[in-house]
């Protein structure tokens, strides 16, 4: 489709799989390096962050207003609260923080039908080490992102985290998923 004469077509090219993967790796690195502010800046102010719960062996919850989620925030403010808590020193579950290493793989761009947006899916695992108890755990699952093009580059408009091993050993937090 060509733009009308004299009008610049501002719709960007869809994000390549390689560029999408780079964004996901960047997010993972910010969490593992506890660069919280840079992590938050990847999210749009109205970003939805959602970790559904499971309602049976094979089915996650799908309606956050009628079913339980593990975490559900309708804006970045919810994530800002989480980061505030991690840094506050007022949460014994977060002091000391656990060490984490995210691995993000199988990154695919799965929908480019909306101009300026892409859907990206990926597989993840996070190794979590609790230095207080000297114990390790691996959380794993799948991600589904909706990324949006902005003047500052691509940003996260929505992220859904499917946590497959949801029998949680005491604590799960945004930096462990």
């Amino acid at each position: 489709m060509s733009a009308a004469p004299g009008v610049q077509d501002t719709a960007p090219a869809p994000l390549s799989a390689e560029a999408a993967a780079t964004l996901l790796y960047q997010e993972a690195l910010y969490l593992d390096e506890r660069r919280w502010d840079e992590w938050l800046a990847l999210y749009l102010p109205q970003a939805r962050y959602w970790v559904p719960a499971w309602k049976s062996e094979g089915e996650v919850t799908s309606d956050p207003d009628r079913e339980i989620s593990l975490i559900f925030y309708e804006s970045r403010a919810g994530l800002e609260d989480r980061i505030w808590r991690l840094k506050s020193g007022l949460s014994v579950a977060s002091s000391p923080l656990r060490r984490t290493a995210h691995t993000v793989t199988n990154v695919l761009v799965t929908d480019v039908s909306t101009p300026g947006e892409v859907e990206v899916k990926a597989t993840w695992n996070v190794g979590v080490y609790d230095p207080r108890r000297k114990t390790s755990h691996i959380f794993f699952g799948r991600y589904a992102y909706r990324l949006k093009s902005t003047a500052d580059g691509w940003r996260i408009a929505a992220k859904t985290i499917f946590l497959l091993n949801d029998n949680i050993p005491a604590v799960a937090d945004v930096y462990m998923l």
Binding site: S56, E57, T61, R66, I68, D81, V92, D166, V171, D173
Partner: protein, 459 residues
């Protein structure tokens, strides 16, 4: 083997001296754990779930009693019973899923099949099997639990026949269950989406913490501060602050605004008047509940209430409402199965608010529960030290506890065995005494039986 005297000696209960102490071995000794599984979880009434989890004929759900896998089924005729979820043939679990609907349950191993009343319907190839007559001397049905009972949609069972009635077990705690069930004329339901988590600590830490008001301001300041932040920023999420810090200054020290009740069978309640009842999801029913049940009972429904029905279920109602089932796995490992419970038929907006507040506070991925469970694990590690074996966490409120009901209980004809009416700062700990007196009576009764059995085997 541990004798009954030894068990009784682990609870230092001397009211005449104003002393109540619990020995750390209660939380750390595998032999004590073995006995309490037999005496408490496998030797008396335990909670299974809600009848509303089985709305239709042939619905079932699976759970555990102590170390036994259990299937709870609604039969074709509508009646409910619970069975050991283990095929009499080779022992395989017959029901594989957490919940479902089946007229016929077919064992995955050799296809023995059972109907939803637990009756054996077929033994594959029986006619060709050259069985002896003696084979049919055994029942081939699923083994039902020894006792099964229902109180207002709450399902209970006992693996031991030699127990009192369910009514005796619940005793005077019935009106506290009514406060939950009567929030809707249709009763309560579980919101879809169960959440389970484990902690590496003894199950009794969970039992205590639910009734422990003393920890709240120490363990949950991050949660409380986040609620304040949201109030300041007019957060667009939906958690409203039911803990209004400004109200602290309005309270008169010594003037009761809550308290605790203890019951003979080990059930307990701790409660507080809500600072901001308007923030409760239930508040939309404020008028209709008063019309239906009277203002006293309505007011009680609006109070924050944590009810424990000893030994394995807790109903926590504050900013939201949670049903927790405690499943001890070993002396130092516990699994929690948790559900958001809600009055059937509440508005979509109230349900949404209830769910958001639930996730914030109660989830292991939320803002409060992880701080509790991490502390339990810390206690478990610390309790390995027996150098100073007596724990001192049972003394607050000793001089405030009164026999029988108080004036608040009287308004709904509640008859606890003892009461503490408390201001915001008292944070009674005598409420735990009820747990440990029930624990001591039941575990010591089984200790001598087990010791005699062990002696008989070795002789």
């Amino acid at each position: 083997m541990i004798t009954s005297n030894e068990i009784a000696g682990l609870i230092d209960d001397r009211p005449e001296d104003g002393v109540f102490r619990v020995h750390r071995r209660l939380f750390t000794d595998p032999d004590v754990f073995e006995l309490e599984m037999k005496a408490i979880f496998e030797g008396g009434w335990v909670f299974l779930g809600l009848a509303s989890q089985l709305p239709c004929p042939n619905d079932y759900f699976t759970t555990t009693i102590g170390r036994h896998p259990i299937a709870v089924m609604r039969a074709a005729d509508g009646s409910i019973n619970a069975f050991i979820n283990s095929c009499p043939h080779k022992g395989a679990r017959v029901c594989q899923l957490e919940q479902g609907n089946a007229k016929l349950h077919v064992c995955p191993y050799h296809s023995w099949s059972f109907d939803s009343a637990g009756r054996n319907r077929a033994i594959k190839g029986k006619a060709q099997g050259a069985y002896s007559d003696g084979f049919d001397h055994d029942s081939h049905d699923l083994r039902p639990v020894a006792r099964f009972g229902e109180y207002r949609g709450l399902l209970f069972a006992s693996l031991t026949a030699d127990v009192g009635s369910l009514q005796d077990h619940l005793g005077e705690a019935g009106p506290l269950i009514d406060l939950i069930v009567d929030q809707s004329p249709d009763g309560i339901e579980l919101v879809p989406g169960a959440v389970s988590f484990t902690f590496e600590a003894n199950w009794k830490l969970q039992l205590e913490n639910c009734s422990d008001q003393y920890h709240f301001s120490s363990v949950h300041p991050s949660y409380l501060r986040i609620l304040e932040r949201r109030t300041e920023r007019a957060f667009e999420g939906s958690t409203q602050n039911i803990w209004d810090v400004d109200k602290v200054h309005e309270e008169v020290p010594g003037e009761p605004t809550g308290g605790t009740y203890s019951f003979d069978q080990g059930h307990v309640l701790n409660w507080r008047m809500s600072d901001v009842p308007q923030a409760l999801p239930l508040f939309e029913r404020n008028e209709i509940l008063a019309q239906r049940h009277g203002t006293a009972k309505r007011d009680w429904m609006m109070h924050s209430r944590n009810l424990t029905l000893f030994p394995n279920v807790q109903f926590a109602e504050n900013a939201s409402s949670q049903l927790r089932i405690i499943r001890p796995i070993s002396v130092g490992l516990t699994e929690m199965r948790t559900y958001c419970m809600a009055p059937i038929g509440e508005s979509a907006e109230a349900r949404r608010k209830r769910i958001r507040q639930y996730e914030d506070f109660f989830n292991p991925s939320g803002l409060a529960t992880p701080d509790d469970t991490v502390v339990y694990e810390s206690c478990q590690e610390g309790n390995a030290s027996l150098g100073s074996p007596w724990l001192q966490g049972y003394g607050r409120g000793m001089c405030a506890s009164r026999k029988g009901p108080d004036r608040f209980a009287d308004t709904i004809d509640l008859k606890p065995s003892s009461s503490v009416a408390a201001d915001r700062w008292l944070s009674d700990e005598t409420v735990f005494h009820a747990y440990y007196r029930a624990w001591r009576d039941r575990v010591s009764a089984v200790a001598d039986t087990e010791a005699a059995r062990a002696k008989g085997v070795s002789a």
